[in-house]
């Protein structure tokens, strides 16, 4: 019996401002099961980060929830009070590590003081027994592979990978069962990337987190950690499948072309296959096309793609839907 921890129904989120209305997330349907490490992949501007912001219930300024629902543990994120979300859900049920959050550590504070601040913000009062609290935190940090001495350092004394782990550590202090991480590895070198991914796997293994939503544009990185993956294109999910299926047996034309365009290290020798880029550019989300959003760039498009956006069809197993008219015949 699998349990759905995050359920997203027809979620819409638009950016509104003097620039117009950007349909960043436009009808996303997704459910994440307990124990999954789900990757969200796509090119820049496809709405990955906006989706994560919307899942947290209180997105950044300008980005507005326009419809649809997000259920976290059967609790509707847009049906409850702000305070409930801030105090009860964020950090305790769901941890969120935003993009480039390693730069959000206060440069004039030692890590320990930063943590105490975060605690006070969350609990409401100053922790009575500072040493006890800090010892607990140190223990928690140890599980992430951080020494206790890290707590007495300033952010600039730490390397990029260390900072990233500190941020992940702070986000997981209350043992949230769901962790959303947004591009945690993109500013890191490959060796530190590997360490960080090992940390995530370790966190899951010892049960601090159960479910991880891992957002990245880097499919080789996702391949190392995820068991499931969704591909987003222009504010919509085009394919959801297991990570192996995405890599070895992609179905949606966009996923197929994306896999052909990735220059990836091949440990067995030089990459023989010629890479192929995808012609054209993604649509302008200020005024998205009516039909399939990949239509202008698609090599196997049909007549009806121009007018109608395809619903999810299921060419493989029950849980692997593809939003493409090509699979209309296969099953509904």
């Amino acid at each position: 019996m699998t349990e759905e921890v995050i359920k997203i129904e027809d979620l819409k989120g638009y950016y509104r401002g003097s620039f117009g209305i950007v349909h960043a997330v436009d009808g996303v349907l997704l459910s994440v099961n307990k124990g999954d490490i789900m990757g969200i992949a796509g090119e820049s501007g496809c709405g990955k980060t906006s989706l994560a912001e919307l899942i947290t219930g209180r997105p950044i300024q300008l980005l507005q929830h326009e419809g649809g629902q997000v259920y976290v543990n059967d609790l509707s994120m847009y049906g409850v009070d702000d305070e409930v979300i801030r105090k009860e859900i964020l950090c305790k049920v769901m941890g969120y590590v935003p993009q480039a959050s390693q730069n959000s550590l206060n440069p004039v504070k030692k890590i320990r003081n930063f943590i105490l601040d975060a605690m006070r913000e969350r609990v409401g009062t100053k922790p009575k027994n500072k040493e006890k609290v800090l010892n607990q935190v140190a223990e928690h940090f140890k599980k992430l592979g951080l020494e206790k001495s890290v707590m007495d350092k300033y952010p600039h004394e730490l390397s990029g990978g260390m900072k990233q782990r500190v941020v992940v550590g702070i986000s997981t202090l209350w043992n949230p069962l769901i962790l959303i991480v947004d591009e945690p590895t993109s500013a890191l070198d490959v060796t530190t990337q590997k360490l960080l991914i090992e940390t995530f796997i370790h966190l899951k293994k010892i049960g601090i987190v159960e479910t991880i939503l891992f957002i990245s544009h880097d499919i080789p990185v996702l391949a190392q950690i995820c068991n499931k993956c969704v591909i987003m294109y222009a504010g919509r999910i085009v394919e959801k499948a297991s990570m192996d299926d995405i890599i070895n047996n992609p179905q949606h034309p966009y996923t197929k072309m994306l896999m052909f365009s990735i220059a990836c290290f091949n440990p067995d020798g030089s990459a023989e296959t010629k890479l192929e880029g995808i012609p054209g550019i993604p649509p302008d989300l200020k005024n998205p096309p009516k039909g399939c959003r990949f239509y202008p760039r698609c090599s196997s498009r049909l007549e009806k793609c121009k007018e109608n956006y395809p619903p999810f069809f299921i060419p493989r197993t029950e849980s692997n839907p593809v939003a493409c008219w090509l699979y209309e015949e296969v099953g509904d």
Binding site: R16, S18, G20, I21, Q61, Q64, D82
Partner: protein
Amino acid sequence: MTKEMQIELKNQEELGKKVGIKEIIKEKYHAAMDRYKRQIILITVFFIVVLIIVILTLIPPFNDPDKRYWVTPDVLLDNYAEPSLKHLLGTDQLGRDHLTRLFHAVRNSLAFGLITGLICTGIAVFLGVIGPFKGGAVDATTSFITNIALVFPSYAFIILISTILQIREWWVTMLVIALFSWPWAARSIRSQVLTLKERNFIKVSKMSALKDMRVAFTEVLPNVLPYILLAFIMFLGGAIIAEAGIAMIGLGQQNWLTLGLLLNQAVDYGWIFPSFSYWLWLPPGICLILIVLSFFIIQSSLSRTFEQRKV
């Protein structure tokens, strides 16, 4: 207003009905936008008024501020006339129409500010741009000069130098003010240039065999234009008020009839006290405040416009 904007505004209105932090922020944002629109109107009105004043000073009967009206054998008969329909702002001790003199004073003050502002901006741009691009000793020298000039108590020095120099010529006052006002702008332009210098397009221009100075003036300078414009407007307002200050205490130039000179006469002739000839000093004072305030508003709204462009 375009259709899109209307739709957006309508949406905003609908959302505004819900009360939450976000809605409040949004309302404030729109209020700010409205204020900004009002500022544009203010700026336009200001320029129209200035234009009218300048045109008026060129046509009779306003073209001569020294003209005496009601010339009678006894010149002093019509002096210190109170405001009336004939003389909207009364007359001064020599029976000259004060409104005419005020128009000329406003025009001259603005011209003074304009020229001084141009000199200041020129110095600031030259020192701010040349340093980072020449590098080495040139950079060290220019930033040293700027830093030294920055810590000078400029107003004290303006007064001191005006006192020592016994020449009461317009260009002396102008140069003295210009020489002590440019440093902060040179500093901020320099920092802008330093960041722009690291951008790749500088490297690209160098690979097209452009010389350093040409890169500085054709590639970098256009990108600093907003800052230069803002600095210029700040200088303009600052120079007007500095001149008025020096003139009022009797250390300024004597050959241009400026607002400061009018105020100086008010002090010298005792129009504030013991006699109370309010029409002779209140209007120039108000004009001075309005002009400087206008430049401040123009500057702040322009800087907001430039910021918006960058987002």
